[in-house]
Symmetry: C2
Subunit: 579 residues, 2 copies
């Protein structure tokens, strides 16, 4: 399997080495979590030199498999205190894989205050003083592409990461070289900043094709996989039509859309922020607006787009569902222009739209900015880069902001903000938020598919019954997908489309010369979760941290009157793999 | 034993009941920790209605035993996440004991935003809307004494507690009715604020003497105890002469005084802040300045005083050693007037001088205010009450401030700032900071007595040898003293003066009709620690949290070149009572 690029920020060395046997058979999240678990002392300071930052394409990265270009970023998280993986689209994942790099492992910390950039080309890598220090992501990407060539893909942090703010993201350039793709969750941008690493520049010039054990079999399976994706109404239809916002309306109808800092599950302005509205406005404005756009080469689902302003100039990418929610319903804002601008500002300064949105909702509840006041909220985001006290606070995410403002209604688990599902109304998702070793990510397991869409199976979202098992299955499946380097949206085809999972197993076998069956993918996901749970245990996390904030049990949602009522025993059973 | 006053803030009821048998034989910290452990669900939100706030005088409270008027405050701490006890001098401890009240247990939370006051008299108690809402402690105390009579003692929170800031203290009035005494650590003022309880007014009118099982034996033992205190050079000499600041010079000489956010152990301005300077300046200025003052009735050590300004007007109390350190060496400030004003501002708004000082030192290191700039630092403290973002941050303490400013040099354990001992230079104290169930309190165990003063025993402060055992003994002893309601400074006589400990055991027996020996006091201390450790385990704290910040192991102190090198095994052995 492909080799490892070790970058020691303390000594300034960057060197390739073969992959140790213990890391074999892994990619993406599986590999980042394994490397973090092997190299980072579980009790290390996440922002200290003993933490490691790992970037890894997935097991199918660099191949012609559709949507296989995701890149995983891993480290001990300064937000959760446990192992973290956040993955992203964009071009760097595919480029690294085609350069034969299975993982980039950044350790130590450069002495002094200067920021550095890692320059990677075919068979070579070196550290140099960064040409982009002090810049936000858009300007940094522009300058680095200008100096290193438009063929390069980029990994950067904005000013938030340089400030080591705990909601900082790591940005990845898309097919147009714009830093619109982010490993947003868990403060991994702060870890990159703590190492004084500003950017990674990846020049794919001369990169070979990824080697395939059986080209013919791979081509055949890849074709079947594309057909499966195209035949499913979500992966082959609504995502390209309406983006990830496609589900806004349905979740709102079901009272599952957290509104005004999780007071209600329905937002009166949801329709204004729906995928339908997003598409209609984009098409009506025209200009640089664009729909059905992939964020990386080989994307067939094309859930992205470009959002145009009133004059048709591109503001930024189409905001994703979670971003639309975080700055929309959860902050009481119903205007697409504001959300698109929020997304652009967050992408630029380099922060997680979910955690920052959670902080804004809390500041609205605390009366610091008026509820629903988009201009005041955007001003908070603009304060992140200059590092004003309020800007730093917002850039530190919801949990810390909630503490500083004395809130008892902080929707966070393990220090990280919850994403766009009211756990009282989608209890399988609540079980995942409580128990995932990753903290409450929307990507930790798509239990909502069964709870709200009856996709895969149909589990009553309001009942306690079946949620633990649903959460377990969803988390295993998500961990496997994240290890393959596939976009998590392919899960919809996995859940429902005959042959989709088999096609992926066939591709893995044809790529690596393995002989897995589709059901072996579950074992892969379980192995990843076990590695993560073991690290977290050694880092001092326990079942005590695997729970939702108290108010979800004591305060019925305004929409359903329901509370989150899974017992401690229910939650303990979620990741008990002997069940 | 004396009864329990239960105050349910949710229903507005205040009612007396007998003490359950399980809580027998306990007072002070032993009783608060036992009640918190019995009544607060270990996983509860510390600022939610399921937490309880407990106030309890000690086992010798209300008697004529010297220095027996301390009052313990307990709750699940919003800073540490574990059980917390902080105790204070002042008059309320003695008043409650003489009213026959063994503990006040405040549960629930009043609906709405209004603040309430608890009015306690002989045989009666009631809740009423507070006459002091929105006021800081000095103005609150003035108004409440004006309305309820100068004989009343008071327990109040300032604006910091109302804002539920995590470094908020609970204030107690001294012999002159001023709110100069604080249960400072662990954010207990935020817990009181979270219950919407602004003040407790205790009218001792008609309070009986505390019943004694054997009056004669008590009087005899009390006399012996006073003689023991008076005969020791610390408890009978230097404390009254120089206050708790007496030790500043010695700790500085030994390189143990954390300076500029724990970079060094020696401060070039230490002499300006010494007990000698404090006394000389107070005497030279005269006016309202005063030395050798007790903070509660029956004090024979008299470590306090009144600090006068240049015109001789009282600024506030004599700042204690920890306050002198926190705003002095640790912030690079060498001017007594500034420290005294800092102390006054903190007492007024109601915050812990240690945690706020730690936050200020971090903001100096981050360049937010210039290092050593007293005026700029005082301005930060003045921002706490109005609740500006920076004021809230400072009022939230060092750990959160460090996170928001991306610091890797946060001297905090379990979320609470460390107090005035460099753990690299006083390793027994470092062991206590790491392992105490209370977090890194200066009062959790006086290992420095043996490490730096050769009092009790003589353990080389720089060696690893013997520190775990020293820390264990110190923590047991401190837990016992805190349970008795004695001022912790009596420990110096316990360590060295023959008959001191026996006199205390004799008083306990004569008060309660028991038959303890002096050595049984250790068993009492151990029982308290075991209760606290058990609660913390159930709250999700583990050995993983029993450690110092990473930089103490990797960054040698500028004074000694030493790092903190106790192993995990050393630390695990500290509170292993089978050793």
């Amino acid at each position: 399997m492909s080799g490892i690029l070790h970058v020691n920020m303390t000594t300034g060395e960057a060197a390739f080495s073969p992959r140790p046997a213990a890391w074999d058979g892994l990619g993406g999240r599986g590999l980042t979590s394994q490397i973090v678990s092997s190299l980072a002392p579980p009790m290390c300071d996440p922002l200290g030199p003993r933490n490691v930052l790992v970037l890894a394409p997935g097991l199918l990265g660099g191949t012609d498999c559709a949507n296989s270009g995701r890149i995983s970023v891993g480290a001990k998280s300064p937000l959760t205190g446990g192992v973290k993986e956040a993955n992203s689209g964009g071009q760097p994942g595919g480029h690294l894989a085609r350069l034969g790099i299975g993982a980039v492992v950044v350790s130590g910390r450069s002495p002094g205050e200067e920021f550095w950039q890692l320059e990677i080309g075919r068979g070579k890598a070196r550290l140099a003083p960064s040409e982009a220090a002090g810049l936000d992501n858009y300007e940094a990407a522009g300058r680095l592409r200008e100096r290193h060539g438009g063929q390069c893909s980029l990994v950067t942090i904005g000013r938030a990461g340089e400030l080591r703010l705990l909601a900082s993201s790591v940005a990845f350039t898309d097919t147009e070289g714009l830093p619109t793709r982010h490993a947003g969750r868990g403060g991994l941008g702060a870890v990159m900043g703590s190492k004084n690493l500003k950017a990674i520049i990846i020049d794919p010039t001369g990169a070979a094709s990824v080697p395939l054990a059986d080209k013919e079999a791979f081509r055949d399976a890849a074709g079947r996989f594309v057909r499966a994706l195209r035949s499913h109404p979500v992966t082959g239809g609504s995502l390209a039509e309406y983006g990830s916002a496609a589900m806004m309306g349905l979740f709102n109808e079901q009272g599952a859309l957290p509104t005004r800092n999780f007071r209600s599950g329905r937002f009166e302005g949801a329709e204004d922020l729906s995928g339908e509205s997003l598409r209609a406005l984009t098409e009506a404005r025209g200009g640089q607006g664009r729909v059905a756009k992939g964020c990386m080469s080989g994307c067939v689902m094309r859930c992205s787009g470009d959002f145009p302003d009133k004059e048709g100039r591109r503001v930024g990418k189409w905001p994703d569902f979670e971003t639309l929610w975080a700055f929309g319903p959860n902050a009481g804002i119903r205007d697409l222009d504001s959300v698109a601008l929020y997304d652009r500002l967050c992408d630029d300064v380099g922060v997680d739209t979910i955690d920052v949105g959670g902080a804004i909702a809390l500041l609205m509840e605390a009366g610091v900015v008026p509820p629903g006041d988009a201009a005041a909220a955007l001003d908070l985001v603009r304060q992140i880069g200059p590092g004003t006290p309020l800007g730093r606070l917002v850039g530190s995410g919801a949990a810390i902001t909630g503490k500083v403002y004395g809130s008892r209604r902080v929707a966070a688990v393990k220090g990280q903000a919850m994403s766009a599902f009211d756990p009282r109304a989608v209890k399988g998702q609540g079980a995942t938020f409580a128990t995932s070793p990753q903290g409450p990510d929307h990507t930790a397991g798509l239990a909502y598919a069964a709870n709200l869409l009856a996709i895969g199976s149909d589990v009553d979202p309001l009942s306690r019954e079946g949620q633990a098992e649903l959460s377990r299955r969803s988390q295993i499946s998500a961990a496997a997908v994240d290890t393959l380097g596939l976009c998590l949206f392919v899960s919809f085809a996995f859940f429902e489309t005959p042959g989709a999972l088999e096609a992926v197993a066939d591709m893995l076998n044809a790529r690596h010369g393995w002989s897995l069956s589709a059901s072996d993918l579950d074992g892969l996901g379980r192995r990843v979760l076990e590695t993560e749970l073991d690290f977290n245990r050694r880092a001092g996390l326990s079942a005590a941290q695997d729970r939702l904030p108290e108010f979800f049990s004591s305060e019925p949602s305004e929409s359903h009157g329901a509370t989150f009522d899974l017992s401690d025993e229910d939650l303990r059973s979620v990741l008990d793999f002997h069940k």
